[in-house]
Symmetry: C2
């Protein structure tokens, strides 16, 4: 069990991932009410993750590697609360690692960057390719994106990125 | 991932577990809508189990051992869908193992016996201490018992056991 402290941003210039190797991820939600139960296939590895409700930028997280075959069945048959695909790139900046997610399918066009922090008061770098912060904007939570399978409206997206 | 094929009975004569060593279990439900997500502490071992909806006496089951500390936090803080305590005894009969659960706390007085089968058409033994079958009676599912934390009404219980 860990406490995940994370901030999330839109990415204003997605060319930051050009030339990097990414990992394709498929993930879906088995439950999303109070506790979020997520199955993820990252490359050829399966993961089962439980996340508690967000308190500011922090939330409880329990993550377990599971057999790939289990993850495949769970993702294909048991994710009633939605699923999505994306490619994740790691972009190091000043000793921090940004996880840059390039979404695919109906969410194509959306690119986000997440950064995990040791404490809430750590001030991460803000490179020029980052857009607006959306840590508190639930429309950009992966569970919400998996459910809607649609980008927030372009106007709102532009507002958030502007 | 496995397919769990299980039949459940009330126990008409709980003395069948006298002299046996049982394992105390605490368990609770993180989700119970479509997929059931259960955390269990059995003795000093933690488990996370996902179960699909029942189809007759069968259901999909995914079970993973997790650190005891994780299970303790999940059970204490993240089981919004209820929890219960029971002691489980294994009672072998004619080459089959009955799991006899003696419930505690608000469910004290309830004793059930479950038997896992390789296929639905296997006919398990029916020793004299078994009562009525409740495989299809959702009131006796552990997730429902954890939620209500109350025995089905005595009249219904007597009916079912009669």
């Amino acid at each position: 069990m860990a406490t995940e402290i994370e901030r999330k941003f839109l990415v204003a210039d997605a060319s930051v991932v050009q030339g990097l190797s990414g990992v394709r991820m498929g993930q879906g939600y088995i439950a999303d009410n109070g506790m979020w139960v997520r199955v993820r296939i990252a490359g050829d590895t399966g993961w089962l993750t439980l996340k508690g409700p967000s308190k500011g930028m922090s939330r409880a997280e329990f993550e377990y590697q599971i057999p790939l075959e289990d993850a495949q069945v769970l993702l294909a048959e048991h994710c009633a609360h939605g699923s999505l695909c994306k490619v994740r790139y790691i972009v190091p900046v000043d000793g921090f690692d940004f996880e840059v997610d390039v979404f695919e399918g109906p969410l194509a066009g959306l690119v986000t960057a997440e950064i995990e922090l040791d404490t809430e008061d750590v001030q991460p770098p803000h490179p020029a390719w980052l857009g607006a912060e959306v840590t508190q904007d639930l429309r950009y939570s992966n569970s919400q994106l998996a459910k809607t399978r649609a980008l927030p409206s372009p106007a709102l997206l532009a507002d958030a990125a502007g």
